[in-house]
């Protein structure tokens, strides 16, 4: 049983905070969806959760202790899929995964076996000896996913894991995330795509301009907003402008002399 708690997280890059007063808790078996439009501070929050950047204020607790106390032991229990698939282009997919596994201190036979089967399952096996630099975006994304799952971590943090994936892979990943929750992992899942969050997450947190707008189990949110689906609740909460009207204005602006 693990628990991840964020307390009053705040991050300032400039005078305007990118994230302000974000608090939540996440336990084993829960899938917490973090939902918000572009620039709402999802990735910033994730980077603080993983310890890649320090919060300006607030703290992240894992098992009751600040993650800063023992960052290495904490990260050994975490799998992380970053927003952008920046991999070493000169390594092959297989070599990259071996690098990840070795760095995490996995023993070699297990590592080999897992890499093999996961490459197979993500249909990357035929490409395992090609340089990552020649991979398409979706292939790199799948390598990232494998790298995060490789060490069987207790806590998984996904930042837009579906970007660039084709329909089949996206379906697999969506089902996988749901399953991971059922198997007792704690999952933090960031996305700007509402349908997915609605399908896979047991809990939802909605961010806007770096602040938490609403938080709770998916059902609670729907009821609280008095809407039939999460989409309507989301639009109701986040969007303060009319999408159809904005589209029309855009089309007009293109034609002005």
């Amino acid at each position: 049983m693990v628990s991840l708690v964020a307390r009053n997280l705040m991050k300032c890059y400039t005078s305007v905070p990118a994230v302000e007063d974000v608090s939540f808790s996440l336990r084993s078996g829960e899938v917490l969806g973090c939902l918000g439009p572009n620039g709402s501070g999802k990735s910033t929050t994730v980077r603080m959760l993983i310890g890649l950047s320090d919060p300006t204020r607030g703290e992240v607790l894992f098992g009751g202790k600040n993650i800063r106390m023992n960052l290495v032991a904490y990260r050994k229990l975490v799998g992380y899929v970053p927003e952008e698939a920046n991999l070493y282009p000169f390594l092959s997919g297989l070599e990259y995964l071996e690098l990840v596994g070795t760095l995490r201190g996995m023993d070699e036979p297990t590592l080999r076996k897992r890499i093999d089967s996961m490459l197979e399952l993500f249909s990357l096996h035929p490409h395992r000896h090609s340089a990552v630099g020649s991979y398409s975006k979706g292939m790199r994304q799948r390598i990232l996913l494998i790298a995060a799952l490789l060490d069987d971590p207790e806590l998984l943090i996904f930042d837009e894991p579906l970007s660039g994936l084709d329909v089949t892979s996206a379906l697999i990943v969506k089902n996988l995330i749901k399953l991971l929750g059922e198997r007792g992992k704690a999952v933090f899942y960031c996305s700007h795509v509402l349908e997915v969050v609605e399908k896979v997450c047991s809990h939802v947190m909605i961010l806007r301009k770096g602040r938490v707008l609403a938080q709770g189990s998916a059902d609670d949110l729907r009821q609280a907003a008095g809407q039939s689906s999460l989409e309507h609740a989301f639009v109701h909460l986040v969007e303060d402008r009319d999408a159809t009207q904005t589209a029309r204005d855009l089309a007009d602006a293109m034609a002005t002399a």
Binding site: A18, Y88, F90, T102, L103, H129, A131, S134
Partner: protein
């Protein structure tokens, strides 16, 4: 070519301009120092010689500088091989824009001309500044000096232009003749061959200059085919020291330069269209293969040297980046090449020297210096290549898995350098000595070389606190010149001084004991230095994004 700074952000494959220019000027500085030494003794001998003519006496050195100029310029062209012509990234950036491709072509050629000009100036600046001064020092006449300076300047500059154009022509012809995939495949081989060729050209400067004056007698000499000979002849012709044959060869130099230059531009224009339209489709990277022998070697080295997971992972990463990262391989290759050239020069020099009755039993200082020189440049080359970044944006992986308090990096760097160095040393040492000397000298010499190398490795890695290739290049600061100077002086201490001392000690092996206190003192000094470093000096550092990117982000958010 056109994208300039952006490439650095993309792959971290570009070197900082400062270090690049420093590296390029380095051979000039080295050879000028060698030369000062040589001319000093030359003048002592010649002081009584009244009809000494500096113009003709300087011919071997002139030849060397011309060869150096050609070699370094060609090395730059080989290094920049992939970015001389527009590549896939340019295509992706530029093709959608509504600009005529002829203006890209113009910009590309202009950038190429700038690159040639800057390289020619940088490579030759040390020799242009120093060489005429050294040679004409004893003559008070200004015109005498000016003529020499002019001839030298024209000779080395044209040689630069010629060799750059030649490499460019080879590139463009290959590019337009071969299918793109095949071109990518042979590129690396062609570049290796070209590197071998330029090293060979440099090596000719040990023997060829002596033959030039007598070149008229051999009508069908292969020497007449050497571009270096043409340009040296051109220089002699401008100095008014030419015979009909050298005058003809000098003329050939002018014609060849003009022709290759024009030809390079023509082929560039021709291949431009083709590569610009085809490169958009091709896949830039080559597939790697499973390598059983490589895996076995890795496993052995892991078991013997690298114990922690961090070290094992970092070792795999480092070796692969060294072999596959172009800038890394070329920086290392550049230093190793310099080491091979210098040590082969001393080898050739010692072989041609008359053997004194006394020195026969004891290896000369020149021969002793060979493994020292190789080791010095290998260590320095590895250390410098560690500074060259590769794919900075992918560093989050190391940031995420390596403890920020980790202090393993210096030890790791030492181990990597040692792993690369020791087999090379053993091989070259054993093959050089075991055959012609007794085991006594061989063992003593190899021990000394190893100890001195270990000390040098300690020194260069003392403040190393990053994972190789994961930080952007240090900015070129004014103290970089001091650093380059220290490396030059360090070479003389490491190689020349040590081998001279060894030669002296070998006359009576008991003298070797003197090495003990000296090396011990250096060891203690290093340990003291290491102790004086604070926690913050040794903690691992990362830098994920190049500085410019972070700045732009700040700008865009500050509304």
């Amino acid at each position: 070519m056109i994208h300039g700074g952006e490439t650095a952000d993309e792959d971290g494959l570009d070197l900082g301009m400062g270090l690049l220019f420093g590296l390029l000027a380095l051979p000039g500085v080295f050879s000028s120092l060698f030369l000062a030494d040589k001319y000093g003794s030359l003048f002592q001998v010649l002081r009584g010689d009244l009809d000494f003519d500096p113009y003709s006496a300087s011919l071997p050195d002139e030849y060397f500088f011309i060869a150096l100029s050609m070699v370094v310029t060609a090395a730059v062209a080989i290094w920049k091989w992939d970015s001389l012509l527009p590549d896939r990234r340019d295509y992706i950036n530029l093709a959608p824009l509504p600009i005529a491709s002829s203006s890209f072509l113009g910009a590309n050629i202009f950038a190429l001309l700038l690159l040639v000009g800057a390289t020619a100036v940088d490579v030759n600046i040390a020799s242009i500044g120093l060489f005429p001064l050294v040679v004409c020092g004893s003559h008070s006449s200004l015109t005498y000096f000016a003529i020499f300076l002019g001839a030298h300047l024209v000779g080395v500059t044209l040689a630069s232009v010629f060799s750059f154009s030649a490499v460019m022509t080879i590139l463009c012809v290959l590019m337009s003749v071969l299918p793109f995939r095949l071109f990518r495949k042979c590129s690396m081989y062609v570049r290796c061959i070209l590197i071998a060729v330029i090293l060979a050209i440099l090596a000719t400067s040990a023997t060829v200059p002596g033959e030039i004056q007598g070149i008229a007698e051999h009508t069908r000499s292969w020497l007449k085919l050497l571009p270096t000979v043409w340009f040296t002849s051109l220089d002699q012709w401008m100095l008014g020291r030419a015979n009909p044959t050298t005058a003809m060869l000098g003329n050939r130099a002018l014609i060849a330069t003009g022709l290759t230059f024009v030809f390079a531009i023509c082929t560039c224009v021709f291949s431009y269209r083709r590569c610009f339209t085809s490169s958009g489709e091709a896949n830039a990277m080559l597939p790697a293969r499973e390598n059983a022998i490589g895996n076995w070697i890795y496993r052995m080295v892991h078991r013997l040297v690298f114990q922690t997971p961090f070290e094992r992972a970092a070792f795999r990463f480092t070796t692969k980046a060294l072999v596959r990262g172009e800038s890394q391989a070329l920086v290392l290759g550049w230093f190793v090449g310099l080491g091979i050239v210098i040590s082969s020069q001393s080898l050739v020099g010692s072989l041609t020297q008359p053997i004194s009755s006394m020195g026969q039993r004891i290896p000369s200082a020149e021969i002793l210096s060979v493994p020292l020189t190789l080791s010095y440049f290998l260590i320095l080359g590895l250390r410098c290549s560690f500074e060259v970044p590769i794919a900075l944006r992918a560093n989050w992986l190391f940031r995420l898995t390596v403890s920020p308090d980790s202090r393993e990096c210096a030890a790791f760097a030492r181990k990597v350098i040692a792993v690369f160095l020791l087999p090379v040393l053993l091989l070259c040492g054993l093959s050089l000595y075991a055959s012609s000397w007794g085991w006594k000298f061989t063992v003593v010499h190899l021990t000394i070389v190893t100890v001195v190398s270990v000390l040098f490795i300690e020194i260069v890695s003392i403040q190393f606190r990053k994972i190789p290739f994961t930080c952007s290049m240090p900015r070129f600061k004014s103290n970089s010149i001091v650093v380059i100077f220290i490396y030059v002086v360090g070479f003389f201490i490491f190689s020349t001084a040590t081998s001279t001392a060894e030669h002296w000690a070998f006359q009576d092996l008991r003298r070797v004991l003197i090495f003990l206190p000296v090396l011990g003192a250096i060891w203690l000094g290093i340990k003291y230095w290491q102790k004086s470093l604070t926690y913050l000096d040794t903690r691992v550092i990362f830098d994920e994004l190049p500085p410019t990117v972070v700045e732009t982000l700040n700008l865009s958010t500050s509304r």
